[in-house]
Symmetry: C2
Subunit: 257 residues, 2 copies
DNA sequence: TGAATAGTGTCTCTGAGACAATATGCA
DNA sequence: TGCATATTGTCTCAGAGACACTATTCA
């Protein structure tokens, strides 16, 4: 209650919240090179970063990273700050997606939590894991965290479930797949990333469909090398595969067209 | 700070928020019957309900309806309560979409606002307008509220802009069009509603495309009458038009399929 | 040679897109 | 009769879907 014009303002005598934190669901995709007879695509898994709580409440349990907002920053800035503290990186994709405010959700009092999700390349998290208190940081697969899995602090199980729903939807409707890929990638890599996030996504003629530029309205483009020739990679295969990149063009999908 | 297990918990000595309100962007589509030579489609306009503030701050200015949450309810329940107070109805579509927390956004202090949008059929709002303090309730077209239009209290201009973006996206990706339509409607009505919300949506062969049930995967279905014959309406036209309804089926749209 | 990925060939059928033409029924 | 909406006819061409087939490279 700061403003000078507030002179006539009758202060509310109601209870006010005890805190407004931001919690962050940090997703990453781990890639594990397989030792096969010939070069092959890596094994990919979608994981969530959790930290082990050191304090009451839920001491010793796994929880989402997060922290309280202060009156000098927006909730988005709070989340950015916490994300940077946790991962050391700032320039990653992060979005707000929901608020959690059910009475009793936090034993410390009336605490309204604002949930974000972030998409981080695994390279950034490797450093974090290697730092001092590595035992208190964990990467968990989505299946480990399902309804029958590990029990989490607060309502964080629900939060992660909602976050998953969000990124599954966005994976198919936007180009967030690029957050998990290098700038240039093969269509098999892209297909693998989409399937890692949305397991029941299947598309028999995926490569062919993505190549027919006419229909895809230019979401992807072929990468050319310095000589203007199509640039290829044989990182994951014997036969070299064409490299692609996202153009930034986003078609407007619609039920009605 | 209520819980008994809090015995060891060191109370935070930081400032806490001064309030957590829910604000609601109530959209409706007004329909105006035109007096043409023959029966014709009505004129439709997308409007937002605002109320004139009676108290400091921003006294006398137009603002979104809303109010403070208390510690006995979730933010969603707060919004439902406010929506019912404002419109008298409860069973309408309402969704949470964003949080507004920029420092200084409210002269009363540190106040974090949670924004919802609701889609209400105009019939419900007619009653509200006809009630006692009608002068303090207004329906404004989206263009009146653009960046050059009426100045609103708080950051409500920005909130409405974000809400618009949301419902434009959802209008094309989900079946929220049904919130503005009767249970049974003609394809021209549907097309008009979509265009009212998303002005640059155009689809030359709209009717034909919607009829080809094979591709639309059954989002819509023809309404049949008691005898099993296709049910038609001539409310807006000389030649009777087939009635349709939403089935509830929602195809999964994707960039990659 | 076989493993593992990266494609192409070929076929059928549906739908998109454009636009003209016709249907309906009432003021 | 002409208006205003609703619908069908008629093209052509692109893409979807299925599945078999070929290409590439290396251990």
């Amino acid at each position: 209650m700061v403003d000078e014009n507030a002179s006539n303002y009758t202060a509310r005598k109601y209870r006010t919240p005890d805190g407004a934190p931001a919690d962050i669901v940090i997703f990453t995709i781990t890639t594990e090179i397989l030792n096969r007879a010939t070069k092959s695509l890596p094994k990919r898994e979608l994981k969530v970063l959790l930290i082990k709580r050191k304090l009451w409440p839920y001491e010793g349990m796994w929880a989402l990273p997060g922290g309280f907002s202060n009156d000098q920053e927006s909730m988005y800035e709070t989340a950015r700050r916490e994300l940077e503290e946790e991962t050391g990186v700032n320039a990653v994709h992060m979005e707000y997606f929901n608020v959690y405010s059910k009475p009793g959700r936090d034993p410390r009092g009336w605490i309204i939590s604002h949930a974000f999700f972030a998409l981080v390349h695994e390279d950034y998290l490797v450093e974090r894991k290697a730092s001092d208190d590595a035992a208190d940081v964990g990467l968990f697969t989505v299946s480990e965290l399902g309804s029958k899995g590990l029990e989490l602090a607060f309502d964080h199980q629900e939060v992660i479930g909602d976050a998953l729903e969000q990124i599954r939807s966005k994976m198919l409707l936007t180009s967030i797949a690029k957050e998990f890929l290098p700038d240039e990638f093969t269509l098999s890599e892209l297909y693998q990333v989409v399937q890692t996030v949305v397991p029941d996504f299947e598309e028999a003629n995926f490569i062919r469909k993505m190549k027919s530029t006419q229909s895809r309205s230019g979401v992807l483009e072929q990468v050319l090398d310095a000589k203007g020739e199509p640039k290829k990679s044989n990182e994951f295969s014997q036969r070299a595969a064409q490299l692609y990149r996202f153009t930034g063009v986003m078609p407007r999908l619609s039920l009605y067209s």
